[in-house]
Symmetry: C2
Subunit: 119 residues, 2 copies
DNA sequence: TTGATTGTTAAGCATAGACTTAAGTATCAT
DNA sequence: ATGATACTTAAGTCTATGCTTAACAATCAA
């Protein structure tokens, strides 16, 4: 329940806010790829793609390793999971609240019935 | 499996990238709040808080309504769910891949055993 | 060794983001 | 009617983001 490491979440959500970067993540979810493979679907310069890649790497969403002249990229699932976990924990909060509200309304209804019978 | 509405995702993830806004979401997950209640934990001017609130509202993560002079804010769970859904669908991709890889490795191992026996 | 691949670095530009302060505008209570 | 409350609007500043082009490495293949 504590406020976990917020700083990674900043850069993770920031990274996910761009459609190009989400596209790269989607591609890498299906398997590793080189920089030029990653760049291929996008209508922008290679340096621009590499800059997006750096954002993904800095946020921890992607890891890369260079062999020869080709840099191979793959997703780091843990980072995506931590984003999902944060959302999930919010969901837990509001669902708990809805449950309490529901219980309260049921209680009200029960009282109303009693009063009805009493009349 | 199609690329759903990407534009809302841009602004949803963008909104979540800021710790102040995540704090507001966390607060609102526990129940509705007025603007000044929302502002209270943060060490910044009210206009700054309202600007964050506008980002949340534009992204669809929060809805507000004004009664008298107080604006009451509450979360719109659907928007958060759509962010979670996107992440979940990436996860489905990489898990499918891991499953295929696993099956392949088992197959390799089976062949290796056969060869061993043959010798 | 030359030429083609595959990236990398640097610089610049234009727009968007996260604040601030100062000065309003409604509402509500007395 | 007056003052306090609860925002709102406007304007400005300073930094970060998302690109671009132009040049520069470092492989690899012939």
């Amino acid at each position: 329940m504590l406020n976990n490491q917020p700083q990674p979440l900043n850069s993770i959500f920031q990274a996910l806010a761009d459609p190009t970067r989400r596209g790269m993540i989607a591609r890498l979810s299906r398997g590793p790829a080189s920089v030029s493979e990653l760049a291929e679907p996008f209508d922008m310069s290679l340096p621009a793609v590499v800059q997006h890649l750096q954002v993904l790497e800095t946020s921890g969403l992607v890891r890369t390793q260079k062999v020869g002249r080709v840099r191979t990229c793959h997703i780091e699932t843990k980072a995506l999971m931590s984003a999902q976990d944060w959302i999930q924990s919010q969901r837990a909060s509001w669902e708990a609240r809805f449950d309490r509200l529901d219980a309260y309304l049921q209680e009200l209804q029960a009282k109303e019935k009693k009063r009805g019978r009493r009349k």
